[in-house]
């Protein structure tokens, strides 16, 4: 079964029921809070996504300071699928303000030069129009943070705004990655780290899980509008980009990444960091247990 067929099947199997339902069930917690929206424009897909999740106000309260963490990490324009879709990010900013957010901040500790990356990915341009503060990351803004239950990391410098913000929403783009298999929600948290980040790669699965023990996004939204199939995470070749027009979101970080792996045609069990995260009780890896509610704009 190829991926497109799979999505369509999913849409028919699970989405149909959701579409027919007049109200959206919005549980406070639990892995049922997993949704997938396909085949729309970025903004309308984001709106539908939150509608299915039970509304943005479920995640953002009036007066909240919201930290958004999209991927701005590379000096690549959006069509190269190395950074998160700017229209998607801007729409999420708008929704946060609709819910009464006091402040929405976007930042990322980039891999390429910060100014080049911020300019190329267009997220600052779009998100500022929507009212967000898009900030550069500075060395003095990281606080050495203890990871009391870490298996391989005992502490690491983490950006102060992670602790200052009321809510953290993770908005990675789904890409191929040489060592993680894919880079998705867990890996995207590296953009909030300081220090010598290259060292996180050794051993990568344990370290990336440890980092996510202290950085806990309230919601993960996977941008699979364009995905980078090969030569990730930086890309640079349009032939490696595949238009998938899909958003995936959920409150269970492990489950969201497991489903991201699935739509990337990977078995979640083959990703060591997901196995470790699941074993550590951070979430559910079994995609057979929980399926997303699917909405497709033009099936």
């Amino acid at each position: 079964m190829d991926r497109r067929k799979f999505i369509k099947t999913s849409a028919l199997l699970t989405g149909g029921a959701v579409l027919g339902a007049s109200r959206i069930i919005a549980k406070e917690t639990g892995p049922a809070d997993l949704v997938m929206v396909t085949n729309g424009q970025p903004a309308e897909m984001a709106q539908k996504l939150f509608e299915l999740l039970g509304g943005i106000s479920r995640f953002v309260a009036k007066g909240d300071y919201v930290l958004l963490k999209p991927n701005l990490s590379w000096d690549r324009t959006p069509e190269y699928a190395a950074t998160t879709n700017p229209e998607l990010v801007a729409e999420i900013v708008r929704l946060c303000f609709q819910a009464g957010a006091k402040k929405v901040v976007i930042l990322d500790n980039t891999c390429a030069d910060a100014r080049r990356s911020y300019d190329a990915c267009k997220i600052p341009e779009y998100a500022r129009q929507a009212g967000a503060d898009v900030r550069f990351v500075r060395d003095n803004q990281f606080v050495e943070t203890a990871i009391s239950n870490g298996t391989s990391l005992k502490s690491w410098p983490i950006h102060q705004e992670v602790f200052n913000a009321d809510k953290l929403i993770n908005i990675p783009i789904l890409k191929h990655h040489g060592i993680g298999g894919i880079t998705s929600g867990f890996k995207n948290m590296m953009g909030l780290l300081g220090g010598s980040r290259g060292r996180i790669h050794r051993p990568f699965p344990q370290n990336i899980v440890d980092i996510n023990r202290v950085i806990k996004p309230h919601l993960t939204i996977i941008d699979a509008i364009r995905i980078l199939r090969r030569n990730g995470p930086q890309g640079g070749n349009l032939n490696d980009v595949e238009q998938m027009n899909t958003l995936l979101a959920g409150t269970d970080r492990v489950l969201v990444d497991a489903w991201a792996a699935t739509i990337f045609d990977l078995n979640p069990q083959s990703l060591e960091y997901l196995r470790l995260a699941s074993a550590a009780g951070m979430g559910e890896i079994d995609t057979n247990k929980y399926k997303p509610r699917v909405y497709s704009f033009k099936v």
Binding site: C111, A112, D113, F136, I179, S196, R199, P203, Q234
Partner: protein, 511 residues
């Protein structure tokens, strides 16, 4: 109130200094100059002459230097007194340091002409060394590189301090980001080779302790060159013998010691039209007026003997520079900016102004001024130092800004094809090879679309525990590597990286 010409001179100095500062501020990513940062260097006749002689080329942009070169025919050395940004700084330094003694240093005047002779003779024999004593490249690298780095540290520390004590943190942070987007890098570029040019700059200013305008009087070869033309100057100092009381204030107040003991005669090749004498004259005996331009003044401060001596010394030092050439086999890590001219041509053209280093500090941060790394002839030339920074894949700014095209202005796609060097793994250091563990930070960062760094996945069996694991062993596809150095820069090892870029295979532009 009528504005005195003396005040006009000060206004002019401040104006041109600010203009110069504005040209410096243009040299930043994103590079959208409305005033060319190279302007003052293109106007510099000493740069134009020595550069084109040494490099055996003609560039039409250097015709701009004719404006400054010919200006003394009318205005004398007014450039030095009214326009030169270094001259303005020296005047300021004079005010602060206040030379106490007034020793007679006139016998040293010939030094600047000797320096001028020397740099031109060197240029004729293909050694381009005028930048060491040419005031405008000195001003550029002192203010544009060292000065901007200093101001950045000052401003950044101050703003960061305000944020950390909670004074309007959001506003300050937004302002800091605004500045960062226009003038400064996001983080400290950590310059390496700035201490030598800084010392040169401080010495030039510190010489104010010996006499006013010491540099301009005795050392500046551009001043000497303009002085040669200024001997034919039309605008000149005129003394009314009826009114003059021989009080000597004019001679005492002269910035340049250009007035002879008779108080009447002016050495036109020294006078920078500062007008001090006119305004300090108690009896109003001094005026500046126009006279027939081609009346030559007799004073040539360089005697025939000194001229010949200087020329021979310069000639001898050509050999000195040439025998100090770097052995290419010993300069394996000497990585030049992308697409730089082949080494000999590059050395003949690079005027060490530091523009490339400055603009790189707001982008990939790899270019540094070399100290000894590229030999005596390559002193202060830009080198890519990949533990400091790396060449940004989409950046071509060093070539866009180079005033002499020692780094040619390449388009971004062209620049991306130039191989700056070749990445090689040091397998005794590289983590996967040394410890048989995964790392591949280099592979992740490699910006070439098809990844010049690839991995070979091999099963590894731990000889002690017998545990088996799959390890990604990285290797370089040399046909794809462009030597940008991001792999060396991002390698998580401390000290020397596990992957380094060497000069082997580098591609340089032809003239």
């Amino acid at each position: 109130m009528k504005v005195k010409p003396l005040t006009w001179r000060k206004i002019s100095q401040v104006f041109f200094f600010l203009l110069f500062a504005l040209t410096l501020l243009q040299a930043t990513y994103p590079f959208k100059p409305w005033l060319p940062p190279e302007l003052f260097l293109w106007l510099d006749p000493l740069t134009a002459i020595t550069n084109q002689i040494a490099g055996r080329f003609f560039d039409i942009i250097f015709l701009l230097a004719l404006i400054v070169l010919l200006s003394p025919l009318i205005f004398g050395r007014a450039f030095c007194g009214w326009m030169c940004p270094l001259g303005f700084l020296i005047d300021t330094s004079d005010h602060i340091l206040k030379p106490k003694k007034r020793p007679d240093l006139r016998r040293w005047r010939f030094l600047k002409s000797a320096l001028l002779t020397a740099v031109i003779i060197l240029a004729i024999f293909g050694v381009q060394y005028a930048w060491l004593v040419d005031p405008l490249p000195i001003a550029w690298r002192s203010l544009g590189v060292i000065g901007m780095a200093f101001i950045f540290l000052l401003v950044d520390t101050f703003l960061t301090g305000l944020v950390s004590v909670g004074i309007f943190p959001d506003t300050i942070l937004n302002f800091q980001d605004w500045l960062t987007g226009r003038l400064f890098p996001v983080s400290n570029p950590e310059f390496g080779g700035l201490v030598v040019p800084l010392i040169i700059f401080l010495i030039i200013l510190g010489l104010s302790r010996l006499s006013r305008r010491f540099w301009c009087r005795y050392l500046c070869p551009l001043g000497a060159l303009l002085g040669l033309v200024a001997r034919f100057s039309s605008l000149r100092r005129i003394v009314d013998t009826e009114k003059c009381t021989d009080c000597g204030v004019c001679r005492h107040q002269c910035k340049m010691d250009a007035i002879e003991p008779d108080f009447m005669t002016t050495t036109k090749s020294e006078c920078i039209l500062c007008l001090n004498c006119k305004y300090d004259c108690k009896t109003d005996a001094i005026s500046f007026g126009w006279r027939a331009p081609l009346k030559m003044m007799p004073n040539v401060d360089l005697s025939r003997r000194a001229f010949i001596g200087t020329s021979l010394t310069a000639l001898a030092s050509v050999g000195f520079f040439k025998i100090n050439k770097l052995d290419p086999r010993h300069s394996d890590r000497l990585i030049r900016p992308p697409g730089a001219l082949i080494e000999d041509d590059f050395l003949e053209r690079c005027i060490r102004c530091g523009e490339c280093v400055r603009i790189c500090s707001t982008s990939g941060k790899c270019l540094q001024l070399s100290v000894t790394e590229s030999g005596l002839e390559g002193f202060m030339t830009p080198l890519a130092q990949y533990r400091h920074g790396y060449c940004e894949y989409n950046c071509n700014l060093c070539g866009q800004i180079c005033p002499t095209k020692a780094i040619p202005p390449l388009s971004t796609p062209e620049k991306q094809k130039y191989k700056m060097g070749q990445a090689i793994f040091l397998k005794d250091r590289c983590i996967p090879y040394r410890l048989n563990e995964n790392c591949i930070v280099c592979e992740e960062h490699c910006p070439t679309p098809n990844k010049a760094i690839k991995v070979d996945k091999q099963a590894y069996v731990d000889p002690v525990s017998g545990a088996k694991r799959i390890v990604s062993y990285p290797y370089v596809d040399e046909s794809l590597c462009i030597g940008c150095g991001i792999c060396e820069n991002k390698c998580p090892l401390n000290g020397e990286a596990g992957i380094i870029v060497v000069r082997e295979g580098e591609e340089r532009s032809q003239v």
